[in-house]
């Protein structure tokens, strides 16, 4: 159980990136966070990952506050961020240094099998396409079977076809051991396709605006009527969130700083 309570992050330059955000994420839930740029969604993810410390409030995993990166929380970035000097298998085993070599190799091999690129275990990162590199990044994050998997716009740099392919694949991976997944994205369709719950954030300062439970049966049809209706609804909410942020700045210039 992941609990986020009155989480606030103010950066050194005074920017209020996140303002009293509270969220609860159930075990095994897939939560998507959508919002325009500057709404604090990436900051939120970095706080959950323990890469940054909150100004106020806390993130708790099973009651324990997260203050630094933890093995129970995995993170996949927008870029694969593979170490170019390690083979794909070595990259996947990057977080397994505490295990004996044989165990590392076996776990990395299993994870690569899961993400479907076992044949590339000995390849260098530069030899992989963007989609395959991101699969390797998924394998690296999942190889330790973290309770929570954080994904920071993981497919936004990929072409549409590869992106859909990896979205399907991510659901398959979820079926492996049902980790909690928190996905930050600016792609509403991606959020609706994957998530049990979509949280819409609004910018300046970053706040939770509303949330939607798609409640659609899986596999979801991106072209289905209900899917499109939900998409329109979320688009409207996002539009309004920006209008409200602009209006808020107009009436209260201090908030902009």
């Amino acid at each position: 159980m992941l609990d986020i309570t009155t989480l606030t992050k103010r950066y050194g330059n005074g920017t209020l990136a996140l303002d009293t955000v509270s969220l609860s994420v159930a075990p095994g839930e897939i939560l998507a966070i959508v919002g325009g740029s500057g709404c604090g969604k990436s900051t939120l993810l970095r706080l959950i990952a323990g890469l940054e410390a909150p100004s106020r409030g806390a993130v708790r995993l099973n009651g324990e506050p997260i203050t630094a990166p933890r093995p129970e929380v995995g993170l996949v970035f927008q870029e694969p961020r593979l170490m170019p000097w390690l083979t794909i298998a070595e990259n996947v085993a990057f977080g397994l240094a505490h295990l004996p070599k044989a165990g590392q190799k076996r776990l990395a091999g299993d994870a690569l099998e899961r993400v479907g690129i076992a044949a590339f275990a000995g390849a260098w990162p530069r030899e992989l396409s963007g989609g395959m590199a991101q699969r390797a990044a998924l394998a690296r994050a999942l190889v330790t079977r973290p309770e929570v998997l954080l994904l920071d716009e993981p497919f936004s740099a990929l072409d549409a076809f590869t992106r859909h392919d990896l979205q399907d694949h991510l659901l398959e991976l979820w079926g492996w051991y049902q980790p909690t997944m928190i996905l930050v994205t600016h792609d509403i369709e991606e959020a609706l396709f994957l998530a049990d719950r979509v949280v819409v954030m609004q910018p300046r300062p970053g706040r939770v605006r509303t949330e939607v439970r798609p409640g659609l049966a899986r596999p979801r049809e991106r072209t289905g009527l209900d899917f499109q209706r939900l998409k329109q609804h979320l688009l409207k909410e996002l539009d309004r969130s920006f209008q409200d942020a602009d209006a808020g700045e107009a009436t209260n210039p201090a908030a902009a700083i």
Partner: protein
């Protein structure tokens, strides 16, 4: 004897493309014969000039006193080698370059790593080192002779100073250039400071560090000549001044040829020793033809 050093030097000059060729990879060899032919073209003009000189001297058109023909240079080299003299000169010069390279590299690496890593150290030390770098290193010679005498210490110090700057600059720059995003991956996996250095910073900086070592070594060879000009009784640099004093250009050219061969060999050894660690690099072998 005379053929083998040149042959190995030529092989070391293009080590990257010769290795896969010997591995028997037939597929990517399409552009290779052409590339070999292109490389041989580079020998045409110098060989023609050498042959012309040789013929001119043999035919009595030129006496070859100031510019001796290749055969005379090779004969002198052979004589020096047979007398064991060449070996002595080479050994002491190699020893000086080796020591200077060692100390210069150590100092450059440590200071470069410190200023590259810590902003405070950079603010404190970098301006001073940059100012010192602006001094032509030969200008230190009188001071070093006063401080360290005319024997080995002043020579090795001068070489070390020459090696220090390229190593220092590249090490600091390489550390500053490390992708912060990869460092963050290290943080996610809770690496300690030491593990971060060993598993992320070191491999990430290695390519530029190797380049730094190679340019440092090149400068080491440059500075050993200057160092041996200042009162040496042995060494290839001494051989140069000796040739000048006795009015014997053959000796000078023999020494120059030896410098070239040694410089090429040591650079090739350094490149070869570090290549296994850089196999992952995208550019290696592609960018260097």
């Amino acid at each position: 004897m005379t053929g083998s050093p040149t042959a190995s030097a030529a092989a070391l000059a293009q080590p990257v493309s010769t290795a896969p060729a010997s591995a028997g990879a037939a597929a990517p060899a399409a552009g290779r014969p052409a590339r070999h032919a292109r490389r041989l073209l580079g020998f045409v003009v110098p060989a023609a000039l050498a042959l012309a000189l040789e013929a001119a001297v043999a035919g009595g058109l030129y006496d070859g006193r100031l510019l001796p023909p290749p055969s005379a240079v090779l004969a002198t080299l052979w004589e020096l080698a047979a007398a064991g003299e060449l070996f002595e000169h080479v050994a002491i010069t190699l020893w000086r370059v080796g020591l200077g390279f060692l100390f210069g590299t150590l100092a450059g690496t440590v200071l470069g790593a410190v200023t590259g890593t810590f902003g405070l150290a950079r603010a404190l030390l970098d301006p001073m080192l940059q100012a010192l770098r602006a001094i032509p290193s030969i200008a230190w010679v009188p001071l070093f002779i006063l401080w360290f005498g005319i024997f080995e210490t002043s020579k090795v110090t001068l070489i070390a100073v020459g090696v220090f700057f390229p190593v220092y600059l590249s090490t600091a720059a390489a550390i500053l250039d490390v992708d912060r995003k990869l460092v963050e991956v290290g943080r996610i996996y809770r690496l300690s400071a030491f593990q971060l250095v060993r598993r992320v910073l070191l491999p990430a900086t290695l390519p530029s560090y190797v380049v730094a070592l190679r340019s440092g070594l090149g400068l080491g060879w440059m500075f050993v000549v200057a160092a041996e000009f200042m009162g040496a009784s042995k060494g290839l640099g001494f051989l140069l001044t000796d040739g000048q004093m006795t009015g014997n250009p053959t000796i000078i050219l023999a020494s120059i040829v030896t410098f070239a061969v040694l410089g090429k060999i040591t650079d090739g050894l350094l490149a070869g020793a570090t290549r296994p660690f850089l196999r992952w690099q995208d550019s290696l072998g592609n960018s260097r033809r």
